[in-house]
Symmetry: C2
Subunit: 149 residues, 2 copies
């Protein structure tokens, strides 16, 4: 059964983990901005777009893949389009929809950004985990992230 409070172990773990939840994304975000002038959201859009061979996604499919709302992606893609990182075309299959694609510029920016980002993820995270820890963290993350919303 559960109580209304946490044990000391739980409390300390939760505190430590909460610090990690704040600090790690903040550090990666700063590295990314410094190295490549991208926000984490920009990077995720670019790298997800690049996953498809033709670098094209219907907005709704990209939003679903990234687990973003369509509204959020619509706003963000508009900003990235203004910067020339992505392009937008009408969907020939569905006149309501639109197709997003990586521009050459967007691809170049991603291509330059990726190696720096990998270095950053290593330096601020992966390098500090043993293989055992890596494995455990993976099962644990999957288990909790997969819980119903």
């Amino acid at each position: 059964m559960h109580t209304a409070w946490l044990t000391e172990d739980e409390e300390n773990t939760w505190r430590a983990f909460r610090r990690l939840l704040i600090a790690l994304p903040a550090r990666l975000s700063r590295d990314l901005a410094r190295d490549s002038g991208l926000s984490p959201a920009d990077y995720e859009v670019l790298s997800t777009l690049s996953e498809k061979p033709n670098r094209r996604w219907a907005l709704k499919d990209l939003a679903a893949k990234m687990e973003w709302s369509r509204s959020r992606l619509s706003h963000h893609a508009a900003r990235m389009q203004a910067r020339g990182l992505v392009g937008k075309e009408p969907d020939p299959q569905d006149a309501r929809g639109c197709i997003l694609h990586l521009t050459d510029d967007g691809f170049r920016v991603l291509d330059d950004a990726a190696p720096h980002h990998v270095v950053s993820v290593r330096a601020r995270f992966l390098d500090h985990l043993s293989p055992d820890e890596l494995a455990l963290l993976r099962t644990l993350s999957t288990r909790i992230a997969d819980l119903p919303d």
Copy 2:
């Protein structure tokens, strides 16, 4: 030495952990808003304020304790003051500073919110970790969060 890419294990762990970094805070935030009408930031301000016996902190000290910028706390405290959750007074020791305190209302709101929040943290996180996992996650979180910025 490092390569410019990730191994498959690293890649999968990083993906899974990144999902957790997004999903867990989002779920806790939704629970908190639904149960108590508070944002996570609100809750953190209220609960940190309540840690001192007299429920008073100089703004700069509270900001340092929470690892927030003074600007952020200034903005946020202004919004919370408008809702009657916190109060603000001049600091008699330092005419530049100000002292924040929990109002009775703020204390009541926190008092109502806390047990629900604990239930939420359990349901969405702690209950799904074994004691071993809890311990490992704590050392690992501390290790990584404590890295230099």
